[in-house]
């Protein structure tokens, strides 16, 4: 469904992605794990068009994305819950969710999706009139994911949904990710919390300093010695 072929991205002169190739099949959860600064977020930002790749191709169901501006990519069904959540702090929860549906052409299905988001995140319904900036970290994460779902995306990109959350909240968020996936949304999940990510994903890629160094099914990656040492903290 989503395929990256030899994607190179630069920040000025810094070569951030050195030829990333990966693919995500319809209905899968694929995870991209790696340490800080390895290029995980840059990969997602490149798919979304926020950072432009210098070379390589990005295909969404056969259509090239890499030359399109970000809003065109969003319209084609790529939605993201970005690093740092990036919710709109001075807009209400409801307005944030409405903005999520901005790219959609069928405004009629919006109320269904709103219901779905509130079912996944009942907390957001309680906070509906509150300004985004006044929410707690966990609530902001829920809002960022809810906002992305409002686009009814073909593929959902999740950037570090566990960051800064308590262990209980992390469990909850990952359960919700699985639910979203079972309801039919393809997910590319970027995580530092490799253990959690591998326990819900079908397949995984390991990224190190801008390069994919390993790719396998999630259960096999969990057993991989290098992954265990570097990312799971198990000797």
């Amino acid at each position: 469904m989503l395929e990256l072929k030899d994607v190179h991205t630069y920040y000025g002169n810094i070569h951030a992605l050195k030829g990333i190739s990966l693919n995500v099949e319809k209905g899968e959860i694929v995870t991209l794990i790696g340490s800080n600064g390895a290029g995980k977020s840059t990969t997602l930002r490149t798919i979304q068009g926020i950072n432009r790749p210098r070379s390589g191709t990005i295909l969404l169901e056969g259509e090239e994305l890499e030359k399109l501006p970000p809003h065109e990519i969003a319209i084609r069904g790529v939605a993201q819950s970005p690093e740092g959540r990036m919710i709109f702090p001075r807009m209400t929860v409801m307005e944030n969710l409405e903005m999520g549906a901005y790219a959609r052409k069928d405004k009629t299905g919006m109320s269904d999706d709103l219901e779905r988001v509130f079912k996944l995140f009942p907390r957001l319904k309680e906070r509906i009139g509150q300004k985004g900036g006044t929410l707690s970290g966990g609530e902001q994460q829920m809002l960022a994911m809810g906002r992305a779902l409002m686009a009814r995306p073909r593929i959902l990109l999740l950037d570090e949904p566990s960051m800064g959350l308590s262990p209980i909240l992390v469990e909850l968020i990952f359960e919700i990710i699985q639910t979203i996936n079972k309801e039919g949304t393809t997910i590319l999940l970027v995580e530092q919390n490799a253990l959690m990510a591998l326990s819900i994903a079908n397949r995984g890629y390991v990224i190190q300093t801008g390069e994919i160094v390993l790719s396998d099914t999630a259960p096999r990656l969990k057993e991989n010695e290098m992954v265990r040492k570097s990312y799971l903290g198990i000797e």
Binding site: Q48, I50, A79, P89, R90, E98, M99, A151
Partner: protein
């Protein structure tokens, strides 16, 4: 000592120092409390009069300030050309009034449609020019260091001013434009008074009230029109899809892109609206104050910029409030302090805000980086 306590202490010290300087040097600039008190006591109606004038001029400033604050809110650029765009609003409306023969007519109907056409033209013209300025001078610098677009804006300001100067030389457009090589102030006809007199009404709406006050049709019309514009803008920003997209872009540009918002379009729309408001303000100011001058945008622009900073730059309610406050201050200074020092008083306010409360009256930092 915590840094917060230090900041507060520093601000108190600055305030004391500033108050000291004001009391020391203030009298030179007309700040003489006993004589002001005496003047107000002698004729309190005068104070009301200054408030009326201050509110009307403040309304115009508020409309200009909106253009500054909207653009700053969305691309963090102080668009220094905005004041001069307002001057173009004055000139373009005057041009239309001349070409439609409204300058000389006494026919009320002719005056009404002439003003209506001039308003529509000034709004559309300034809106389009502002969009073009963004395309030409700011868009390609969007990712450049922040100083670059700022300098570009100052360059645009000079460009608009000098075209204004040439414009003011064209006597074939407006007969009075040719005089003294265009550099002097030109008359903008007092059409509203003429209209009202032509209809057989008294220009002063309070003439028969016996209060001895003057509230002219001009005062009323400027305040009402400004009020309508501000309320419509508020509703537009709050309710419409494009208005929401503007707020979203202002609050987090990358997130807005990810959600499918075409931010180039949103930024153009912001310049379009800001420019239209400047055009409307130009017509209002022309009719209200009766002058057109190629350099008038400089002062008005700086006053409006001060108003926007006073209210909290980027904040729409702040710009409106700041506009009225600066209008009142200027009017009060003209009346009771010393008209020659009005600009100094206004900029003293600017300096004080930047020192004491850089976020302005309505500036908020809550959750900015959430």
């Amino acid at each position: 000592m915590s840094t917060k306590a230090k900041t507060i202490l520093r601000r108190i010290l600055i305030t004391v120092l500033v108050l000291y300087v004001i009391f020391l040097l203030g009298p030179i600039a007309g700040f003489d409390v006993p004589s002001i008190a005496k003047a107000i006591q002698a004729d309190p109606r005068q104070l009301v009069q200054f408030i009326i004038v201050g509110v009307a001029n403040g309304a115009i400033l508020a409309i200009i300030a909106l253009g500054y604050t909207m653009v700053y809110g969305i691309i963090e650029l102080i668009n220094f050309a905005h004041g001069d765009l307002y001057m173009w609003g004055v000139f373009s409306s005057l041009t239309i009034l001349s070409l439609t023969g409204t300058l000389t007519t006494k026919d009320p109907v002719h005056i009404i449609w002439g003003i209506a056409v001039a308003l529509i033209f000034a709004v559309v013209f300034c809106a389009v020019v502002n969009v073009a300025i963004e395309r030409l001078a700011y868009r390609r610098l969007r990712n450049a260091p922040r100083l670059a677009p700022l300098i570009s804006a100052i360059g645009m300001s000079f460009t608009l001013e000098n075209i204004g100067l040439i414009w003011a030389q064209q006597s074939w457009i407006v007969p009075s434009f040719g005089t003294t090589g265009g550099a002097s102030q030109k008359d903008y006809p007092d059409l509203l008074s003429r209209l009202f007199q032509g209809l057989g009404y008294n220009v002063n709406l309070l003439a028969s009230s016996g209060l001895g006050l003057r509230l002219t049709i001009k005062d009323l019309l400027v305040i009402v029109l400004a009020g309508v514009l501000m309320i419509s803008l508020r509703l537009f920003i709050q309710r419409t899809s494009l208005g929401k997209a503007m707020r979203a872009t202002a609050q987090n540009r990358d997130a807005a892109k990810m959600l499918g918002i075409d931010i180039d379009r949103v930024i153009s729309a912001t310049f379009l609206i800001g420019g239209g408001l400047a055009g409307a303000a130009g017509l209002m100011a022309g009719l209200y104050n009766g002058t057109a001058w190629w350099f008038m945008g400089f002062r008005a622009g700086l006053f409006a910029f001060t108003a926007a900073v006073l209210g909290g730059i980027g904040n729409i309610t702040g710009a409106m409030t700041g506009g009225f406050l600066i209008g009142l201050l200027a009017s009060f200074s003209d009346g009771y302090l010393n008209a020659r020092w009005t600009e100094a008083w206004v900029f003293a306010v600017l300096v004080l805000i930047l020192l004491l409360r850089p976020t302005g009256l309505f500036g908020e930092q809550v959750g900015e980086k959430a």
